[in-house]
Symmetry: C2
Subunit: 257 residues, 2 copies
Amino acid sequence: MTPRRLEITALPGIPLVQPGDDLATLIVAALGRAETALRAGDALVVAQKVVSKAEGRYAALASVEPRPEARDLAARTDKDPRLVELILRESARVVRHRPGLLIVQHRHGYVLANAGIDASNVEPDPVAGERVLLLPEDPDKSCRTLRRRLREATGVAPTVIINDSLGRAWRHGTVGTALGAAGLAALLDLRGETDLFGRALRVSQVGLADELASAASLVQGEAAEGTPVALVRGMAPEGADQQAADLIRSEDEDLFR
Amino acid sequence: MTPRRLEITALPGIPLVQPGDDLATLIVAALGRAETALRAGDALVVAQKVVSKAEGRYAALASVEPRPEARDLAARTDKDPRLVELILRESARVVRHRPGLLIVQHRHGYVLANAGIDASNVEPDPVAGERVLLLPEDPDKSCRTLRRRLREATGVAPTVIINDSLGRAWRHGTVGTALGAAGLAALLDLRGETDLFGRALRVSQVGLADELASAASLVQGEAAEGTPVALVRGMAPEGADQQAADLIRSEDEDLFR
């Protein structure tokens, strides 16, 4: 059943996340500050960056020794060879590159720039020096874990999505996209449903987790003012419990890589 | 400024739209049924299908004579040659095809399946027979016109977006995507903004109109129960007034077509 009304709220006062922090505890506290509590049917959309930070997915550039292939690709993309080495370690293969741009297929299947590795909003470390942040080790698993922890803490198991702002083929600008998901039909299957006149629908599968990821991105923001967790109220998801991995088109099905 | 809270509401009771219907009048009536009125900062997201119907963008298949190229492509994609003829008329070029799939660059620049032409939720015509529905003639212009008509009717000029459910490279499932836009920074430019630590942001341009299009799609639905107009309250958009055309990557900038 399509919802008729959604409320999307950026949870206030989430602190800078440190390795080992328990996101469920931080989220429950933020829900309290927002003067609410989890309800059945709620969805929480959490920015990739804070999940990666909680998981301690930092890499210090000074500790990275680039292989020759990374040095070569760095020269052709105008990037730091140590960063390119980390990108290659996170990737199954390079999809496209040109000066300033390196698009890969991540080992989890996502096609994205720089394997999702990011230096913005990452605190420098006084000992290790300049650091970058990798994607979570297993975003779908991180979602399942956070969902279970929230159920233990509150009695309610929400939909949980980890989102990131990813570029697309054909269009300018990033959009919020689901890297991980638990507790919803991430790829909503409408096959077998019919239109007003009894014909099959043109759209047969909806990227529901990605639409939620984009909706949450509208209140999360990208800059220093950003708030990394959004509460989406009103979805009341039904149907299969799928992973964000179910949204990934396999290489042999895809005409665009 | 990133909004902190959004409400997304499917407007109730929009009737089946007929050619020549005034969408502004239908929307103002639906806002009344929802016991609200337009406020400054509101956005309205309108499904492509109802804009096309209001503009009378029907084509009767019986009246279409396929050119030889359309017959050939129809055989290779398992599609009706008359439909393929219409797709070619709407397109600048064919991007990819295989049995069951025809992806084109629309003459407006969008890369999408079947040039956006659709038979689902289209009433058959007792005289003309089986009909299909083309995209609006100029979706950005349709948005500007609807925005002006709503301002004339209510005194408030909302953001207006026309969305459609489009497939993507690399990922399964469709997501709501902006075909037209007026009254917002459709491609939000963050270049020059900095992170918590004074560094340039990784994300420099956000596909804001597409994120709104996806958010609205969550309440619009695809099936017979669908509601074609969503009110998004809380965006209060600032910045440049751009078109959805600003979201289209030109062919020579794009590595994936």
